[in-house]
Subunit: 342 residues, 2 copies
């Protein structure tokens, strides 16, 4: 291992700024400025410093930097879950936008629990992150207060149906549900069923449901049957739940599912039960997942742009480190995918 002089004598171990400065024959501050590309530096100096860094294999200590500058290149990310493919996709968008920057993601998973979220927010803030990305609008008062006091920029993703703390990025789930209903009604469907999952956790699913009901009501219709499972959405759950729904009400024309996972499960049920999809029973999902589109009959659904949401969040947050005067809402929109199942 290398031996070199440091602050108070000979040291073994990790080299510091001081060591680099000594080797390059410049002051610590100059090294610091070379590293951070800040202020004017003579080319010759820069070269000497960079080669000293190279030679020592110096890696800056971010904790020290963060402490001195009371800021960090960290971006806090809070996701409700990683089980639902939607959130890894958001995270993918976040990472893709982060890739071209120096920022790094500090990720926490809340399990759809506002108190867990609160704890994570608190420990995130302890790192003085540049910004925090969270999901939805369900936060505890304490969480809101912490975020308020910290003055850190905050993006709330997925949903835009409420007033954000700072900036919201996503789509109107209520409207998406409503439009789904309108779309299906315009296709001639009248006898609607609904298959969903637990919506105490997934509030957005509920908003879509409400939008759907509003569209039906407006057309003088109602849901003829609905069935919800306890627990998260899954293909299996969709399959079983559609089966149960059809046992109770066999004369449904179209089923709207809480999301694509459920709908794909529904598709599989039809396959097993020999139900002609679309002719006999229409299926409609939400999200526009790949899996749905690769089905023998591409799923009729709504494309939510998860990747884009994550990506946009990062871009918007990095535009300015100060919260803008006006709360901002970015609608990433959605597209109804015709598909072949409804």
């Amino acid at each position: 291992m290398l031996v070199f002089k440091s602050g108070k004598g000979f040291m073994y171990g990790v080299p510091t700024l001081t060591d680099v400065a000594r080797l390059a024959g410049v002051s610590e501050n100059t090294v610091s400025r070379v590293i951070r590309n800040k202020g004017p530096i003579a080319d010759s100096t820069r070269t000497r410093v960079t080669s000293a860094i190279e030679e020592l294999g110096y890696v800056p200590n971010r904790a020290a930097g963060s402490l001195a500058s009371s800021g960090s290149m960290l971006m806090g990310v809070l996701l409700p879950s990683l089980s639902n493919i939607v959130f890894p996709e958001v995270l993918r968008g976040i990472h893709s936008a982060l890739a071209s920057t120096e920022y790094q993601a500090l990720v926490g998973v809340t399990d759809y629990d506002a108190l867990t979220e609160q704890g994570i927010v608190s420990s995130l803030l302890a790192w003085k992150p540049a910004a925090i990305i969270m999901t939805g609008f369900d936060h505890t008062d304490a969480t809101r207060r912490m975020l308020e006091n910290s003055r850190v920029r905050v993006a709330e993703l997925m949903d835009i149906d409420a007033e954000p703390i700072d900036i919201a990025i996503g789509l109107s789930h209520r409207k998406a549900g409503y439009d789904s209903g309108r779309h299906l009604i315009s296709r001639g469907y009248r006898r609607f069923g609904y298959v969903g999952h637990d919506w105490t956790a997934d509030r957005r699913a509920r908003k879509r449901y409400e939008g759907l009901c509003a569209a039906l009501l407006e057309a003088g219709l109602t849901l003829k049957a609905e069935q919800r499972v306890d627990g998260p959405s899954s293909t299996i759950a969709g399959r079983d739940t559609l089966a149960r729904l059809l046992t109770k009400k066999p004369d449904i024309e179209v089923v709207v599912f809480s999301n694509d996972d459920m709908a794909v499960g529904g598709f599989f049920h039809c396959l097993s039960a020999g139900i002609a999809v679309k002719e006999k029973l229409g299926l409609f999902g939400f999200n526009g997942l790949d899996i749905g589109q690769s089905l023998p009959a591409p799923l009729s659904t709504v494309r939510s742009n998860r990747f884009l949401i994550g990506q946009t969040a990062v871009e918007k947050l990095l535009e300015s480190s100060e919260r803008p005067l006006e709360r901002q809402i970015v609608d990433t929109g959605y597209v109804i995918i015709e598909g072949a199942t409804a």
Copy 2:
């Protein structure tokens, strides 16, 4: 906003340890010890301190803590991609194990690129993480050197077919491929096809392929046909690629896919093309994803325990902060799922 006395006079803003100490009427160190639960503290003192913390809404500054103790409660996580569902599942395992601790995950995505990985490792190390979790064994020399010098604990996940830096957790993909082959041979299959994806990125898929070929060779057989797509695995890719394979060689009895995504796509192709799965054409995947098991005919495949891998990694790493003398290998195993497609 609160006004209180700090180090050098009145300050507005975020309270520090000093403020808490002053309010509670104890020394800073005592507050620090209350927070970190270290050393003996009288109950009365603890109460005074915690209520001072409460009152001020004090949040410790981790950067300062990390600097002072030259360590952090961060765990670096490097994943090659988030597109392949497998890695979010590993991440889920990691988070689930982390949830009961104070540690937090600092996540980076390498895009299967060793140089990108190197850059991320370098910036991770800058935070003095407690440990680093990475995937596979393909690292640059510089990466190895940095990890070596830093002395942090390192887990290499997914694969156990090589010598780890510190600890490897996963399964033998070569053996899994081999066993798949043996299994299918024992089921009477003789005319094998293979449908895969780009394996310059996904080395493990290649190892499984090699294991499969070894099993065939041992039985005096060979692959009758194989088809690989450029690019990552996906349902669509599996579907199209199987179609192409069958055009070239229609008399295959069973197709082994590089993974479940591809195999599910293959299943969909059979559905569209009216090919009786299993009777006419066996399908075999790898991973044991939910989607494969929820197919009308559960996919025959191999269950890799991704969640467990992530979870085990964290547990093992936290067992000791020092690298053990012996490099360690943890085999999380795999299970052949009979399924109904082969």
